[in-house]
Assembly symmetry: C3
Amino acid sequence: MTATLQASAVPRPSAGSEAARRRRLAMVASKGTLDAAYPPLILAASAASLGWEVGIFFTFYGLDIINRKKYRKLKVSPLANPAMPVPVPNLIGALPGMTAAATSMMKGWMKAAKLPTVAEFLDIARESEVKLYACSTTMGVMGVAEGDLLPGVDIAGATAFLDFAAGADVSLFV
Amino acid sequence: MTATLQASAVPRPSAGSEAARRRRLAMVASKGTLDAAYPPLILAASAASLGWEVGIFFTFYGLDIINRKKYRKLKVSPLANPAMPVPVPNLIGALPGMTAAATSMMKGWMKAAKLPTVAEFLDIARESEVKLYACSTTMGVMGVAEGDLLPGVDIAGATAFLDFAAGADVSLFV
Amino acid sequence: MTATLQASAVPRPSAGSEAARRRRLAMVASKGTLDAAYPPLILAASAASLGWEVGIFFTFYGLDIINRKKYRKLKVSPLANPAMPVPVPNLIGALPGMTAAATSMMKGWMKAAKLPTVAEFLDIARESEVKLYACSTTMGVMGVAEGDLLPGVDIAGATAFLDFAAGADVSLFV
């Protein structure tokens, strides 16, 4: 049976003092596979729909999600994830074409479940004023130039993220 | 030498106002391998033992942990994790049977360390009134039906998780 | 254009009451690959540079980061990460020597970006009084003995971490 989280119906003692300001969600997105890109994008869209202020800090492989050359081509690996709904033996998964096959399969599941694509989620994020930050420290490591970033993405350092997260109600590292 | 975290002995300035209510831990469990299932289950049991209110939101591969057909069969991959205590060359790790071997090896270590199994941890969680939620958005993507869920698991959306997490003392994405 | 997080310039309503105490960052480091070791070490150094109190709780594979036999030899896998800046076909990535090649490649990028090594980051952490804890529960599982830990690392349980994190401004699971 579908249930809402009962506890959420009970106001927290601190709710009174917090009612005056917007809630805030701060996330780090450190992974660049298609499957790992979804959780921060889903949470960002959900939080924005609740009126929260949201910031995502893309770092390391996560920079791919906001890289204009890569965000439409994120992939799922069929290897080393025995939790894949259709598990692929590693010896098969290593064959050429299998990463493309796993990616295509997951895109099909996403579509059937009517989940927006990564590009659509990024549009939702920008329309909802979700703040998108590229990690300045790891852009160099990953070979990402300023010109590689999607429009609407700013560059920020780890200290700026921490400062933002310190005022957040929920902080998550994905 | 075993040490407790010294800082924890020092009351935080806000401790007074918070003393009246239970602490709360909110977690997302997004991975479905045996090794990745343990941290949220260990943290949930630990928090519950301290009297905390705990909620775990299972999403994407993490749904396997509360899937009655899968929770007893979670696996560890020997591939692509050079940090495995007994590292396996990838060419060997890709051979048929090696995922089963790595899983069996890790189960042996868990048992030797007297760590409960996933099934036992889930029992502890339910006995401790840890709230278990299956993510409604990703159940469709991962092909999980309501009937696949273990007893005691409710279905909730991302906004319900955010609402629960907003009142949490600690929120973690695993 | 480089931007700081605008929101961070706006004082949070609760900032007044919190100004008197140090901010606190609590992290779990659960992974032991070279790439996964960096985010908690970068965040710890950044937070410490801001004057924050920082504690990192190393668990499961993350114990490798503070294992004196292993911390200088953390590796990157070329397999199952299609987000690698120089993607390697899995069939090639599985060949002997490819994990070493991927590790060496990433170390080169880190060096070119003038990022400290893991050993240097650990020195920075200890000089900044970042608290380093090895998870007592998983040391046994992963076969880590007290004598394997780097100097300055204490042993703590999950409840101690939760207690520390409950007083943190930002908690992250890496």
